[in-house]
């Protein structure tokens, strides 16, 4: 195990939970990043305003953390641009086909006891475990 960080991760999780709760309590919206991303690059209807603003906040928050704690953005895995490109396509296409990602299904959906989100979360976690196992088993952990 590289480094186990339960306290920092728990605090990070609480902040993510607060973010989703804020959006829900004030705006009645689900903090699903893949949906917000889609709505920002392929705008439709009246949702564009809050989605673009959320995305702007996400970028500014990322910039702030990168200035204060650049080590939190270390890449440190061996992946070719091919692998990253294919991964990007799969994540973009898959999250829209499945109507959500780690945030929309994982955090928000599970909090609402949504059956769809439970199935989605178990599926993408299972696929993630299997993929990392396969990369380790067949490709020695690099791709």
């Amino acid at each position: 195990m590289e480094q186990f960080t339960p306290v920092a991760s728990l605090i990070g999780g609480v902040l993510i939970g607060l973010s989703a709760a804020l959006l829900w309590y004030f705006k009645g919206r689900i903090a699903g990043i893949s949906g917000i991303f889609e709505g920002s690059i392929l705008p439709r209807g009246a949702d564009i305003g809050w989605k673009l603003t959320f995305l702007a906040g996400l970028l500014v928050g990322g910039a702030l953390m990168f200035v204060l704690q650049p080590q939190l953005f270390a890449f440190e895995i061996t992946r070719s641009y091919w692998a990253l490109g294919v991964a990007g396509l799969l994540v973009g296409f898959g999250t829209r086909l499945g109507s959500g990602c780690t945030s929309g299904h994982g955090v928000c959906g599970l909090s609402r006891f949504s059956r769809r989100s439970l199935v989605a979360t178990l599926t993408f976690m299972g696929a993630g475990f299997a993929t990392v196992w396969a990369i380790g088993h067949f490709a020695g952990g690099a791709l």
């Binding site: 480094q3 339960p6 728990l10 990070g12 999780g13 993510i16 939970g17 989703a20 709760a21 804020l22 959006l23 829900w24 309590y25 004030f26 705006k27 689900i30 889609e38 392929l42 305003g49 809050w50 989605k51 603003t53 906040g57 996400l58 500014v60 928050g61 990322g62 702030l64 990168f66 650049p70 953005f73 992946r79 641009y81 692998a83 990253l84 294919v86 991964a87 990007g88 396509l89 799969l90 994540v91 973009g92 898959g94 086909l97 499945g98 109507s99 990602c101 780690t102 955090v107 928000c108 609402r112 769809r116 199935v119 696929a127 475990f129 299997a130 993929t131 990392v132 196992w133 380790g136």
Partner: protein, 148 residues
């Protein structure tokens, strides 16, 4: 005020992701390496987020008819377990394991300007666009077929 909330929520989300370790692909892959050198840290991210969100969700369901700044809560209406849901989630999981990135952390990392992040986000955008094109094609061929 209406736009301040989503901005603050986005900012808080990115800070939480970075603090929790989600913007380090090695840490994500370590979490997904269940059968190897497993690092359970990210389960704590999920646990913390769920605990807060669950409490607030329960509270608002019991106490509020509508959100503070909108007329209604916007809940997903689909409740069916569909092939789309499962296939889409499986494809996403494969991409997540391949790269160590899911959408939030990848977008929060864009400002680092590093090539792996930019390549991933560019192709993620193409994937989203590809999905929209597929949907449009399916919708138009269904209309052309005349059987809905």
């Amino acid at each position: 005020m209406k736009l301040a909330i989503p901005f603050i929520a986005g900012l808080l989300f990115a800070v939480g992701l970075a603090f929790g370790g989600m913007t380090q692909p090695a840490k994500v892959v370590g979490f997904l390496d269940l059968f190897g050198d497993w690092d359970p840290s990210l389960a704590f991210v999920m646990g913390g987020a769920l605990a807060v969100n669950l409490a607030v969700y329960r509270f608002t369901r019991a106490k509020r008819e509508r959100p503070v700044l909108d007329e209604t809560f916007h809940l997903p209406t689909n409740t069916q377990i569909t092939a789309r849901l499962i296939i889409g989630s499986a494809l996403f999981g494969i991409g997540w394991g391949l790269s160590g990135f899911c959408p939030g952390p990848a977008l929060a990392s864009v400002v680092t300007g590093t090539a792996p992040v930019l390549v991933f986000v560019l192709f993620m955008g193409l994937g989203v666009y590809g999905h929209a094109l597929t949907q449009r094609f399916l919708a138009s061929s269904a209309t052309a077929g005349g059987d809905g």
